[in-house]
Symmetry: C2
Subunit: 221 residues, 2 copies
């Protein structure tokens, strides 16, 4: 695992929601407001556009190397850009194969939406996955194919088991400033946000508001 | 370039057109009928399914190692499976990046639909790309986003320039047994077929018919 990954406020990009602003522009603002990690996700882009997008976001993050960059799904793009890691869903490459391709230093995250899916990650050889994305906390229009909502109780149960198994956990799905404190208080190591930052009129202010809402709620390790 | 790539009758798979038969089942039949190379293409599959599909096709091809296996777009899947190469379109990773990831021995193909796109491939450093897919010869329902049809004259012009530039060329798009001879006579090194084999009631017979139709038409190097 890439040392120093800070998942507290983890931005997952959505190209359409950022428009008409560019994704790198929104990322820059969000980082200035307190985003601690960035995942480039664009399931509709071809690999050529995704490579260019990832490089552009990487350029924006150059002055803040503590804000790690993760690529959703595209291991080839992560290899070409030297991104800090890859996040895979249940339809993407298995974490074991991602680890084979990326080597021991990469941050590998896996989406899990149920106890059974978490069990599969926990059963992997140590060092295969570093982080689980607990998803969705609530249903969200940005990921209509996601499973049933975990809600706070489900998130708390999965976060506890992830921590006991040595995995970082982040919660994702429909989290806004109004709910960030409650989600952060479930025992996760961070929250992932898409719409609440990408669609915000002022992404920097949105990130500041989220960080303020979460203050003191995350349980230190 | 992977030595011994034989592009004469190059099958590009389409999972939906093969159904209800599996892709490996159709590939096995097609190879028994004379297909000389196979490209696994499934633009709708997630990487996990594509990896499984590629491994299943690879298993089917194990007894015929002279029939090379190419993966469409997915460099990560090619790395994991040790496939013989990757074919990229204009929206996929640039050939230079694919070569970086796959190393000198892989077969790298690039789709080109115009003289300008062929110029870009010819301008790459020697050894970057090995093959161009001239596309589409005719418009085809299996690739509705393809550009204007090259028809026979356009295919002939591009094939001639590809050969002069040291590249293999194959023609793709709407080729059937009725047109295979005319396309093979344009100076390409092979023809690519999707529907005419994947949707055939008897894929082995379809491949045999195509090989018979092309007999004597391809110009040896």
């Amino acid at each position: 695992m890439r040392a120093g990954f800070d998942p507290r406020l983890y931005l997952v990009t959505d190209t359409l929601l950022c428009a008409p602003r560019s994704v790198p522009e929104v990322v820059a603002a969000a980082v200035s407001g307190g985003v601690t990690a960035v995942q480039v996700r664009d399931k509709t882009a071809g690999r050529r556009d995704l490579l260019a997008l990832t490089r552009a976001v990487q350029e924006v993050l150059r002055p803040t190397p503590h804000v790690r960059l993760v690529v959703n799904d595209a291991v080839d793009v992560a290899l070409l850009t030297g991104a800090d890691g890859v996040h895979v869903g249940q339809d993407d490459l298995p974490a074991t194969d991602v680890r084979t391709l990326l080597g021991p230093d990469a941050l590998i995250g896996v989406s899990v939406g149920s106890p059974a899916e978490l069990d599969e990650v926990l059963a992997l050889p140590a060092g295969t996955a570093d982080l689980v994305g607990l998803s969705p906390v609530w249903s969200t229009p940005t990921k209509p194919d996601a499973g049933a909502a975990l809600e706070l109780d489900g998130t708390r149960a999965l976060a506890s088991r992830a921590r006991a198994g040595g995995l970082l956990s982040v919660a994702i799905g429909g989290i806004s400033a109004a709910t960030a404190a409650a989600v952060a208080g479930t025992g996760v190591d961070g929250i992932c946000v898409v719409s609440d930052i990408c669609a915000a009129a002022d992404p920097a202010a949105a990130a500041r508001t989220l960080r303020a809402a979460m203050a003191g709620e995350l349980v230190a390790r």
